[in-house]
């Protein structure tokens, strides 16, 4: 399968190179949907320039990148475009390999469950076959590389691409089963932007499954493994943070990066939910609401972990979607990452109920973002409410997508164990409803 992947990679690289050379590059890199205060390229350049002038880049509220990014771009700043293209390619390749491995795991598990007669007799059409699963990795890579969101994110040189690469490597390491590498990349991902911390739970669940350790709270092996994993993760995180200290000999980066992510001081409009609320809020409520909004991101982990403990990779997908909806400075690059996973759940297509409205909402909102921005900022005939309405609709669309897939997944699982034709005790046909 290498050849088609190489072809896809070449096409993607060509598209990006063409866009880099065109005049659209400047326009795209200024769009607020693509670059946020956390990952804008301008800010990286500014931070490095400040460093050259002998000033800490974290003084002032310009630069919110981690020291490792400083280190990386200190040497690679002239080749920035190449770097971003390579990161995109790396992400796609990592996702490709991860999904290939995941397919094998799914297939093995399916075979096991069929052998164990856990499936109802009439669900033959729901079983995934290797034929249809063969092209899924390629589709995932395609979906990531040629997604307009990813292309725009790359052309804007937003460091979101680097975050995506780290998360992709984390997924690859987790699915391959290596706890050490998985904690390493998770620590890196958490270090870059705080929210991948929530991916700790699905990764742990997956690795537990892989080791055939039953997920019971009282079980000793469970606790031992959890402790090991947690300790590895914390050690890695600690090592990376301490190493960052030695770059600039100061702890300045902690309030500048993590304090900035958590306290949301910059209210530039973006595709997220934070800016509008905090722009109109009174000072004395803002602490409370910041806490509420931030808890919202981390809150869904435990219930989802309880519900999806048999299906950790789906849990990872849902968690990534939740991160990219509820994080403090989302961009379309974050959206592109979880959308790359959609081909993996192709078999859920027959259970999805809102595909038409979803696709309409997402496409129309993406097109309306620049229109309403122009109307608000340049023409002056709209105001922030218009733009926020589109932001809200876009996020509602994403939530609808996640919940749709969640429902479809659960429904399929139910049908697999209980058969396709559900009957009530008295024999009449029954409908499955999500309560």
């Amino acid at each position: 399968m290498a050849a088609p992947l190489v072809l896809v990679v070449l096409v993607a690289v060509t598209v990006r190179a063409a866009l880099f050379r065109s005049s659209l590059a400047a326009f795209i890199s200024e769009r607020v949907e693509v670059s946020s205060p956390l990952n804008a390229w301008k800010r990286v350049v500014e931070g490095l320039a400040l460093l050259d002038l002998g000033v800490s880049p974290y003084s002032g509220a310009v630069f919110h990148e981690t020291p490792l990014i400083i280190y990386l771009f200190h040497f690679l700043i002239e080749y920035a475009e190449l770097v971003f293209m390579i990161t995109d390619v790396l992400t796609a390749v990592a996702l490709y390999l991860a999904i290939q491995e995941f397919n094998k795991v799914v297939f093995k598990k399916q075979k096991l469950l069929i052998k164990l007669d856990k499936y109802a007799p009439d669900v033959a059409e729901l079983i995934q076959t290797p034929m249809e699963m063969h092209y899924i990795p390629l589709k995932v890579a395609l979906c990531y590389l040629l997604n307009p969101y990813t292309v725009m994110s790359c052309v804007a040189k937003s460091t979101c691409a680097i975050n995506n690469t780290v998360i992709a490597f984390f997924i690859l390491a987790t699915i391959k089963g290596s706890a050490f590498l998985s904690t390493l990349f998770l620590a890196l991902a958490t270090y870059q932007s705080l929210y991948p911390l929530t991916l700790f739970a699905p990764a742990l669940l997956y690795l537990l499954q892989r080791q055939f350790i039953p997920i019971k709270l009282k079980s000793e092996s469970f606790q031992l493994y959890t402790m090991q994993y947690g300790a590895l993760y914390l050690c890695n995180l600690g090592v990376i943070v301490c190493l960052s200290f030695f770059l600039l000999n100061s702890w300045d980066f902690i309030p500048s990066v993590y304090g900035f992510i958590l306290s949301v001081p910059d209210l530039t409009p973006n595709i997220g939910l934070f800016w509008y609320f905090f722009a109109e809020m009174f000072e004395h409520f803002s602490l409370f609401f910041v806490c509420v909004f931030q808890i919202n991101v981390f809150f869904y982990t435990i219930p989802l972990a309880i519900k999806l403990k048999e299906h950790p990779v789906f849990f990872m997908f849902v968690q990534m979607a939740i991160i990219s909806i509820f994080k403090s400075y989302p961009t379309v690059g974050d959206v592109a990452l979880y959308m790359a996973f959609l081909p993996v759940w192709n078999h859920l297509y027959r259970f999805l109920r809102n595909t038409f409205i979803l696709s309409c909402v997402l496409i129309v909102c993406s097109l309306l973002f620049p229109v309403l921005w122009h109307l608000w900022i340049y023409a002056g005939s709209a105001n922030s409410n218009f733009y926020y309405a589109i932001t809200l609709t876009f996020n509602v669309g994403q939530i609808l997508l996640v919940s749709d897939y969640f429902y479809a997944f659960l429904r399929r699982e139910y049908y697999l164990t209980h058969g396709l034709h559900l009957t009530r005790p008295d024999g009449t046909e029954a409908m499955l409803v999500l309560k």
Binding site: D52, Y71, L243, N249
Partner: protein
């Protein structure tokens, strides 16, 4: 014959002496006149007349401004040098029983409107922002000349403001205010940009003296119609038109100005005496501490008129530098600074010979070492020691 010859020579000598004296006297009088020529220091006059109130019942403010406009025009300042700002149209107001007129005297004695009134800022254009932009010259490039105050450092400017005011502010258009601090800062900007030689500021509002309290720029003389805590009162209502036509202070100032003609030698001290408390009910105030010259020597026409001094003489006058009475207008410490020159806007030399950017910052050695050591450890941990032999 010798006596007459000596007598004649004596007479001739006396005559020459006399002629010489006369000539000397004449040249010295011409010299004096030449001195006088340069005494005031200004070469052109501007007037900024602002009425800040709208609505029909503020007729008197428009009438105030138009009266001053009329006097100033009569005394020689042309329309091109007058910026007239009227916040409302009284002449063509639907409530005006005598359309196209604005009277300043009851019984319709004096129509200050006429058909040669050139209003530069009318109606809603009279805002604090526009007023400050006019004063400081920070005007968008598309503004026409008639709306600009194109004064220079040899201009004497008369600024007359009227309307409703309070302690420290003047109300514009019933929706915004200009404060005395803003006004003082605007004048300081004008001074720093050398936009005036001398400035006469007259304000006819309630508590008008508060508006000139904060001035700190040199060469400003200020007059106000009332002190802080007092109200300026209006003069006479006209029963036919139905509103008060003028404010007291400006009424008496107008009366005073009607007697001035371009060659008057009346000075500022007389203007300070206009409208005593008995006539005006409020106490007019004035401020001259920032003004360099003695108000006694300041002519009314220095500000209210545009007097071009033209003297025809057949004498030759030598314009030597040290004409007495013409002291330098700049304070001594300002003279000590280096002459002004433009900062280099575009360092062409730097752009043409652009050196590659110096990377002044390098990551510390310990960091690089630590990072790469960690990367190697991770690599070998993940892939096993057996790969070592392939590396080495």
């Amino acid at each position: 014959m010798a006596a007459t010859e000596s007598g004649a020579s004596w007479v001739r000598a006396a005559a020459t002496l006399l002629l010489g004296c006369c000539g000397a006297a004449l040249t010295s009088s011409v010299q004096d006149q030449a001195e006088q020529f340069f005494r005031s220091g200004h070469t052109n006059n501007w007037a900024v007349l602002v009425c800040t109130s709208r609505f029909w019942f503020n007729y008197r403010h428009v009438a105030n401004t138009l009266s001053v406009y009329r006097s100033v025009k009569r005394l020689g300042i042309p329309d091109s040098h007058i910026v007239l700002m009227l916040a409302d149209d009284m002449a063509c107001n639907p409530r005006n029983p005598k359309p196209a007129t604005v009277f300043s005297h009851k019984n319709m004695e004096l129509n200050v409107y006429g058909d040669d009134v050139e209003v530069d800022y009318r109606s809603y254009e009279v805002t604090v922002e526009n007023f400050l932009r006019v004063l400081t010259g920070r005007i968008p490039p598309s503004t026409p000349r008639s709306k600009r105050l194109l004064s220079d450092d040899r201009s004497n400017i008369l600024i007359y403001m009227t309307g409703h005011g309070g302690n420290g502010f003047l109300k514009f258009q019933d929706s915004e205010e200009i404060t005395n601090v803003e006004l003082a800062d605007a004048f300081e900007q004008m001074w720093q940009k050398r936009r005036y030689n001398e400035l006469l500021f007259i304000i006819d509002t309630c508590q008008g003296a508060s508006m000139y309290e904060r001035f700190y720029s040199p060469n400003i003389m200020a007059l106000a119609s009332s002190q802080v805590g007092e109200d300026s009162l209006s003069h006479q209502p006209d029963l036919a038109i139905g509103v008060h036509l003028m404010d007291r202070y400006t009424f008496y100032v107008l009366e005073f100005l009607e007697e001035i003609h371009p060659a008057s030698q009346t000075n500022m001290n007389d203007l300070f005496q206009v409208c005593p408390k008995s006539l005006c009910v409020s106490t007019p105030g004035h401020r001259t501490d920032l003004f360099r010259r003695d108000p006694q020597s300041v002519l009314i026409t220095d500000f209210f008129g545009s007097v071009r001094k033209v003297e025809i003489t057949r004498e030759t006058i030598s314009l030597d530098r040290d004409i007495p009475g013409f002291e330098s207008k700049l304070p001594k410490d300002e003279l000590a600074t280096e002459p002004l020159k433009y900062a280099e806007q575009l360092p062409v030399a730097q752009i043409i010979h652009q050196k590659p950017k110096q990377k002044d910052w390098h990551p510390p050695g310990g960091f690089i070492l630590g990072l790469w050591a960690l990367i190697i450890i991770v690599f070998f941990k993940a892939y096993g020691i057996k790969h070592m032999k392939h590396v080495f």
